[in-house]
Subunit: 129 residues, 2 copies
């Protein structure tokens, strides 16, 4: 059964919370409820498979940007079993990094199966030409 | 081997061309070089699997919007085996529909395996609240 909009919003709110959970054990507990056991996370910096691997990756990012937070900046745009949303990283000093997007597929259990992140804005064709 | 940027640009240029090819036979020939045989195309209006099904879907869209064209509006943003780009539909009267994005995964043969489309802009969190 396809996921509905409210459930998708709640799922992504929980997902973003895992990025902001400093304790890896608590983060793992939370992420297990969000990401499929064989779920894939891929962004320009990394390609990891599974809950534990993503928990570890988030620890590395937290070490690189201490005190930073992920802030979702859009509603969840859902159709079929796919969704997108935008977010930015807010640094400890209050600065924000460029707005980025995640695109996800959802499995039969209502968990994220694939998370694809892209950082920053697209380059317009005229600027790229 | 991961695809490189120039190859990804050429792939997506060819993919957009399939949307603008009015002859279903020629479109099928072209799309076979772009989309995996079991490739999935999913946007807010449709979920189809395979080259023939997408050829047919494009025919339906062409009937709905006669004389329209797909115009790519961004460079291809590639990392690992995933990419995104933006585009809009230009109607026969010159009007354009809202800018949309496609996010794709690429298989080992360098063809598109999954194409996920989202129409129009994301709704900001403040507007959604």
């Amino acid at each position: 059964m396809p996921i509905n909009r409210a459930t998708a919003e709640a799922l992504i709110t929980r997902y973003c919370k895992t990025w902001n959970e400093p304790d890896p054990k608590l983060r793992h507990q939370l992420l297990r409820t969000v990401l499929a056991e064989d779920g894939v996370y891929i962004d320009p910096t990394v390609h990891v498979v599974g809950v534990s691997a993503l928990v570890d990756h988030i620890s590395k990012v937290a070490t690189k940007y201490p005190g930073s937070m992920i802030v979702r900046t859009s509603a969840v745009d859902l159709h079929h079993d796919v969704l997108r949303f935008s977010w930015h990283k807010q640094l400890a000093n209050g600065q924000t990094l460029p707005e980025s997007i995640d695109v996800c597929t959802i499995n039969e259990d209502g968990k994220l199966r694939l998370i694809i992140g892209f950082f920053g804005p697209l380059i317009s064709n005229s600027a790229a030409a």
